[in-house]
Symmetry: C2
Amino acid sequence: MKKNVSLKDIAEKVGVSTALVSYVLNGKMEGRISKEVAAQIKAVAEELNYRPNQIAKSLKTNRTHTLGLLLADIANPFSSQIARIIENEANKLGYTVIIGSSDEQVEKSKSLIQLFLNRQVDGLILSLPENSEEIVSDLKEKGIPFVLLDRYFPEISTNSVTIDNYSAAEAAIKHLQENNIARIGIVTYETSLFHLEERLRGALESCNGNATVGKVRLGNIEEDVEAAITAFLNPENKVEAIFFLSNLLAISGLKYLNKLQVTIPDQLAVIAFDKTDAFDLFYTTITYVNQPMNAMGVEAVKLVQQAISGVPTETTVNLQTELVIQHSTTG
Amino acid sequence: MKKNVSLKDIAEKVGVSTALVSYVLNGKMEGRISKEVAAQIKAVAEELNYRPNQIAKSLKTNRTHTLGLLLADIANPFSSQIARIIENEANKLGYTVIIGSSDEQVEKSKSLIQLFLNRQVDGLILSLPENSEEIVSDLKEKGIPFVLLDRYFPEISTNSVTIDNYSAAEAAIKHLQENNIARIGIVTYETSLFHLEERLRGALESCNGNATVGKVRLGNIEEDVEAAITAFLNPENKVEAIFFLSNLLAISGLKYLNKLQVTIPDQLAVIAFDKTDAFDLFYTTITYVNQPMNAMGVEAVKLVQQAISGVPTETTVNLQTELVIQHSTTG
DNA sequence: ATAATCAGTTTAATCGTTTAAGCAACTGGT
DNA sequence: ACCAGTTGCTTAAACGATTAAACTGATTAT
C-alpha cells in the first residue's frame, strides 16, 4: 500500500515549510500569504492528490468529526431506517457515523460506548436498553456530548429526542372507540423501558379497564406473541381489536393471525405502533401510529452537534406522531 | 468534557517514563521489566481508568482497526442484514465498521470511499453500483485492501465474495418446470450489474425462450413493476409464474398482485430471489432463493482481513444458494 | 536616522502513542 | 580485573497535522 501524500511532501516540492502549506490549504491567514505561493501550493496539492490525514488532524484538534450511534439492532427496520437518516444528516454536517447494535444488552452497550469513546468520537446518539441509567449518568458526569434517541429515562435529565408515546397510544385507542370497538388486546414487551411503559399507560388509561395485556419476552417474541393472541381470542375475553406496541410485535402477530386464518378487520381489528414495509404485503392495509423518523434523526443530530459545540443544554425534543388510519380498523 | 487520562499521567504518578508504561500495558518486553513496577503501573492504569487514545495509536502504527463498508442503502433489509453480520464479525476481530450508503450512485460511492480512506480505514468491503469499474481499478492500483461483496466485475480480478447467481436462477426455473410451469415472467432491474445479468442469463437460458422479461428502472420501481406485471397478465403472454430477481422487486410485485387480487399460487406462481421478513405477512408462503447471508459476511471480513495483513490474493469466494420451496409455487 | 509596522514565512511545540537505541548498574566467566 | 551479557529503565524520534510565536526584510512614520 503506497504511502499517502503528506503536507511534508508538498512542502518539499514547493520549497516552503509545512506550516505554510497547512495555512494555505486551510484558508487561514488569508491575505498574509503571497498569491503566487498560495497558488503553487494548491497546484501541487492537487497534482499530488493530497488528502489530509484525518487521524493526525484529529490528534491535534481533538475532534474526530465522528459520531457514535448505538441502536438496538441495525438489522431491524426501525433501527436501519433511523440509521440511514442519521447517516445522511451527519454527513451533511461533516460527521461520519460509527454504528453499534446493543441487542438490548446493557453490557454490550457499555462496551460499544467504550469503543466509541476510545476512538474519540465527538458525540454519541444512543438508543439504550432497559436498566441503562448508570450509563447515562456516567456520560453526564464525564461531560461527554450525547443525546438519547427514542428511549429515555424520565428520572435523568438529558438531551433527548422522543415521541409523545402516551398521546400516540391514546389516539390509537380513541380511534378504535370511535369505531365502536371497546375490548382491546394490547401486546407489548415485558420491559421497564419508559417509552413502552408510556405507550401502555396511554393505551390502558384510555381503555377504562376494557383491555387485556399480553407481555412478550424479548428472547421469545414469536411464542409469546402467539400465546398472547391465543388468550385474546379466547371467547371469554371478547377482544375485538389488537394493539401492537411495536412493529416487530405486529409482524409476529399478523403472521400468526394469518396462520389462524383470522380475517382482519372482519373478525378482529388491528392497529400497530410504528410501521414497516412488511405491512405492504398483508392482504389488508394496517392502521398504525406513524413515527416522524426523519424529524427524529434530524433533531438527534442537531442536538448532539449542539452539545459538541459546547452548548450546555438538557433539551428534550418531544415529537408528535400521526395516526394513519387504514382498513385494519375501519373495514 | 474532562481530559482523558494519558500514558503521561500514569507515568508521572508512578514516577517512570511513558515508554515504560506503554511497554507494560502492551505486554511487550516481558521479562525485562520488574514485576513490582509492572504491577504498580497496571494498578495505577486501572485506578485512573486509563483508556488508550486510539487516534494517537493509529497515527503511530498506521492501523486504525476500522473497516469501511459501502452498501447500496443501509435502510434496505438486504443491506442492513449483511451490515449486522459484518459488524459482528469485524468486532470479533477487533475491527470497527464505518458504513456508507451509495444509493447506487457512482459519485456518492467515490466520495464515501474517499471519506473512508481519509479516515485511514485499514480495508474496505464494497457493494458497488454499476459502472464502478474505475473505482475498483483505482483501489487495486493504490494497493488498498478491499473485497467486493455481492456485486462484482468479471473483467477485473479482485478479492470478492459472491453467490452463484447463474445456478441459483437456473435452479429456480428448473423447479418451476418440474411443477409444469412453462411460461415465465421475469422482473429485473434495468442495469448492467453483473450479478443481476447473471441471474437473468441463468433464468433465460433455462427457459428456452419461454419467458417474458420486465425491466425496472431504479428510480421508478413501483410503477415499472406494475407495468411489467400488467404486461405479464395480458392473456396473450400466458405467463404462469413470475420470478422476481430481487427482494425489493418482489415486495413491490406482491403488493401489486394483492391489489389486483390475483391469487397466489392458483392464478399465478411466484418465486423470489432473496427473501425478506415482509414475505411473512403475505397470505401464502413464498418460494425463494436463499442467500447465505451469514457466510457472505463472514467470508468478506475474512478476505479483507487477509488483504490487510498483506496476503496478496485475488480470491473469489463463490457461495451456493439454496432454493426454499414453499406454497407460492407448489400450491 | 530610528523606531514602528507590516507582509510573508519559518520555527518549534504539541496532540498521545510507539519503539529503536542508549545507558547505568549488576552478574558472572575467565 | 576486565569484558560480555543481562536487567531495568530512559531518551528521543517519529507518526502528520495545527498554530502560537518568532523572525526577516522592506516600508512607513517620527
